[in-house]
Symmetry: C2
């Protein structure tokens, strides 16, 4: 029962933090939505802050797991591996829609918690992407170029749809929770990788595919 109760509280909290913001959410509200006694929030998480931090950490741990390249993909080209990681991270964020926005939003704050999470999880994310890009540059699949801005741009493009989904909805009628979204977005990122990283022109086939969607 304890695991299920914990999950219920986490789910309720993620939904409330997402809609009401951290400051607009009370422990009482979380307990009500999860249908548990208010004392349990303190008991399991040490209060609202503890619950919030646990949600952040859990999301980022899952995010790093989603970056893992399996043995089958590892046999493919570096370009394919990069695309596979990108697709996996987009799916992960889509599956954790509420948490994703909450975490990305919180990461723009300048707090002790954020600095800690950056220097662990986001440093690991940076490291993994850097390895992949350097390998691609070394073997000649990617053009040599200053790697820092490519990494920053890459992370920006992967997180963009999930930190500000309503921008895409309001101005572009794109729903980032729909399955088609990831397919279209990955196609755009593929042509970005091909032209900016690999230095090749998008093929005619790609262009036609892009038009159809």
């Amino acid at each position: 029962m304890s695991e299920a109760t914990r999950d219920k509280m986490k789910e309720a909290a993620a939904r409330l933090f997402y809609t009401q913001g951290y400051h607009g959410t009370s422990v009482r509200h979380i307990a009500e939505q999860a249908n548990v006694n208010i004392a349990l929030v303190s008991y399991y998480f040490g209060g609202k802050k503890g619950l919030f931090e646990q949600l952040m950490t859990q999301f980022l741990e899952g995010y790093l797991e989603a970056m893992h390249i399996d043995d089958e993909t590892r046999m493919k080209s570096t370009r394919e591996q990069l695309l596979s990681v990108i697709r996996s991270l987009l799916s992960y964020q889509q599956n954790h829609y509420h948490l994703a926005r909450m975490v990305h939003r919180e990461m723009t704050m300048d707090s002790v918690l954020v600095r800690e999470l950056m220097s662990t999880y986001l440093r690991k994310e940076k490291h993994d992407f850097e390895q992949l890009l350097r390998r691609g540059m070394k073997e000649g699949s990617f053009n040599k170029q200053p790697i820092d801005f490519v990494l920053i741009q890459l992370r920006g493009m992967i997180t963009l749809p999930y930190y500000s989904p309503q921008y895409l909805r309001e101005l572009y009628q794109l729903s980032t929770t729909e399955p088609y979204f990831i397919n279209r977005y990955v196609e755009h990122l593929t042509s970005w990788i091909d032209s900016c990283l690999c230095g090749i022109e998008p093929t005619r086939t790609n262009r036609v595919m892009l038009k159809i969607n």
Copy 2:
């Protein structure tokens, strides 16, 4: 005197919202920092929310003004015009560092205010960039491609350094408030435009320049 007082309050509020967040900032605190009577905040802005909304609007109005292409630049190529707008928007955000982060952060919220600001200011921003890109595609300077994701990516890249400056500082030792930052970043964006939009390989000169910085 009234104009100077108003400005003092706005400056104090922008700084406090930036460091403490909206919820962590009180009207009393703003009045203290601006060295004015607390009643003046209500008098001039109708309270904290009114002051906050005025700061948001003011930032976005200046942002759109920074997109204006002057007559001299209008004589240049579409690529040059796009680069000039990008540089201008980066400088504007750098000059309004506190406000920029506050606004970009707030724009990730799903509120009535945000929807209003999106459907006016951000719709105008999208429109202006779209005009520029369509002209470039029509005259053949830019490759034809689905325009929505290019626009989204472009906005993402322009705002990224100023919505999460501490990410660039912590993990890349890049200070987005330094003058050199914009030069380096514009060089990166130039090579993005050349390879992704114009479909040309970065020249050797560009590469050498990128290395030096």
